[in-house]
Assembly symmetry: C2
Homo-oligomer: 402 residues x 2
């Protein structure tokens, strides 16, 4: 069955060259990632945003704005329409406005990587792909592995040996071919680039195929819909490769064209760790691209990306929305993580905690005003990070009392 | 604001004695757990099941059939309305009918314990409780700890030292007082029973307060609603303490009274591990209660319960629906886990895998007929169980290719 997708083409955001979406595409000839374009006039005619509430509680509710043409290619494990949880106690402590957490821990595989993988693998299936291949620090690999399994597509994954063990197990259980590397994700990427020509695999490294971003953008649609099409004043995003913030910005622009939201966009905030803050440095210099951040290190390993392929798109999203970029310390991350757990009952990943730490810093500096509405993206479940916290606990003897 | 809850009383299923729901209650004087009763005639008048689709995608959509009276007491992290995922490849391999997995991994804390905790803590808050206390093998403790944190209620938790470390971290991060014990959960329970009188804490051990089951029963409502009020032929439930299967049976009876489903109920199947199968033994003897299962052991530690307090209710649910109880081996559990991951992309906990292993066995025996519709409950996310699988993986040299 036809999905009513309004996809029209793939377009290079740098040199504006167009590509056919009915064929396999990767980067533009100029080296830039490609973005998906839609016939938004047609989408505005066929979709009434108020009627979306009768659709399934997954990201596929926005199928007109997604690239899959035939719904038999849709691979769904129930991903998307994650909770937008009010942070009542924290908002009371730091602000007078409404603060929310978009909780991407409540999704298959426990991280927001499921969105990009669900849409990316579904479209790969539609394009007749038999093998996907990627380097990963763990979570993305696991997400692509499970959706590839559901599609009957083979997955070839390169992972640093110190990537979290649970993501190895997820990937291997799903039948992926996983190779460990005594090195960094960048080393994995180089091995993959050397290996792909001999096999003809479909390279699904970050932003090297155009559809992962389409999955991620649905976070932006959901935030707007869950706030009844009133966008918040600020959205804070823990930023590594930045596909999420690029996707949310793309969704905001699309929704404005569709007439689903007004002209005013939320200020987008890229939150990074002080130990890996290339976007923050670029922002401070008002630069359009970032420079490689040397000796990058942070406990929030999901945002430990020293130079993002889409850095220019991240910075454009920040500048165009009058947002900003802010760096937080390791201690601020842990403090925020404990605060979210003990005040709100939300046990988040360190990247999500960094987002809250960023909001707190911006509130302290009065960049975020009292009374303003803010949304924090938590990109994954804390349960996927067993080693972030270390506690010494008391023992009670078997014949004792507490 | 009033929730429209139709709660009327607490009733003992053994001796039929009634208790006031506006006061704190635990077990009946006769020792049995108490069940919540509702004015179902009134609920049938005020709720149109077809109109539920406009409500929030959480378990609170069934608020008329839940015990909380004032919605300001509702503590929500977005729990419930979890995916009902079609198992297309597995159904094709083993049956001609439709098989589904209700995926309780896609919920706050990553396990179905969140349902009982969300409703249990919300009602505890409504009753003015300041401190909750419980023994736990990990997941339930973590769930109650995070909801207690959101409520501003103190949680006191006793956990065997070999309970999964991630559940310790979750509980402590949420501010719970956690004590480790060099013993079993039964030892933790005894310590707690000795400790409670001195403190006056609210005992939230399994079935010792009446509201956890109300949270769990919403799985039954959701299955019926997600299948458009056509119940499946069979529901397979991995059974330890059995609150889930008791809750689903209660939901089925309520929905039949409400007129939301027809007279025919699904056959409820209690799936246990061969290493801990007290309900299966009782079922084979046609007994009304189970006997303590000696030397219980299984990798599916969530169903390692040698004698459940609600065993008579589990067996009643099985007998009354013409269901059955079936035991599966450790190897069958692992095989089913790998099958779900590699064929469906669903990385589940060993308990959920046991449920599939049970269905396969019943299909082999033709107890489950070709063409029959079956729902398997996966009670938690595989990512919460980092040690269930062990794989040896190949290394690729940094200067190599794959």
């Amino acid at each position: 069955m036809n999905t009513q997708s309004c996809i029209t083409a793939l377009v290079c955001p740098k040199c504006k060259k167009c590509y056919d979406h009915r064929e396999i595409q990767h980067l533009c000839q100029c080296g830039s990632p490609l973005l998906v374009e839609y016939d938004l006039e047609r989408a505005a005619q066929i979709v009434d945003p108020g009627a979306l509430k009768n659709r399934s509680a997954t990201l596929w509710r926005y199928q007109e704005l997604l690239p899959v043409l035939d719904d038999r290619n849709i691979l769904s494990l129930g991903e998307g329409f994650t909770p937008l949880t009010p942070l009542l106690s924290i908002a009371k402590k730091y602000a007078l406005g409404k603060w929310y957490m978009k909780d991407e821990g409540i999704i298959p595989t426990g991280t927001f990587k499921a969105r990009g993988a669900a849409v990316g693998v579904s479209k790969a299936k539609e394009l007749g792909v038999r093998d996907v291949a990627m380097p990963t620090n763990g979570n993305a690999g696991a997400a692509w592995a499970v959706y590839a399994a559901r599609a009957g597509i083979s997955a070839h994954i390169l992972m640093p040996e110190d990537a979290p063990r649970i993501t190895r197990n997820e990937s291997v259980a799903a039948g992926a071919q996983v190779h460990l590397v005594r090195g960094l994700i960048s080393d994995c990427g180089k091995i993959l680039a050397r290996s792909i020509p001999a096999h003809g695999w479909y390279d699904v490294s970050t932003l090297k195929e155009p559809y992962r971003i389409e999955g991620k953008k649905t976070m932006g649609y959901e935030i707007a819909e869950q706030l009844d099409w009133q966008v918040p004043d600020v959205i804070a995003y823990p930023t590594g490769g930045g596909v999420g913030i690029i996707g949310i910005y793309k969704a905001l622009q699309e929704m404005r064209c569709l007439g689903w939201i007004g002209d005013k966009l939320p200020r987008l905030v890229a939150v990074q760790a002080e130990g890996c803050a290339p976007i923050v440095e670029a922002y401070q210099k008002k630069a359009k691209e970032s420079e490689l951040f040397p000796y990058a290190q942070t406990i929030a390993f999901g945002i430990n990306v020293p130079k993002a392929l889409g850095d220019f798109l991240i910075l454009e999203a920040v500048y165009q929305t009058e947002g900003c970029a802010v760096a937080v310390s390791e201690k601020e991350i842990i403090d925020a993580l404990l605060e979210l757990a003990s005040l709100e009952g939300a046990f988040v990943c360190p990247e999500g905690a960094a987002g809250l730490a960023g909001l707190k810093k911006l509130r302290d500096a009065d960049w975020l005003k009292a009374g303003e509405t803010a949304v924090l993206l938590n990109t994954g479940a804390g349960i996927k990070y067993p080693d972030t916290l270390q506690f010494d606990l008391p023992y009670c003897p078997v014949d004792g009392t507490i």
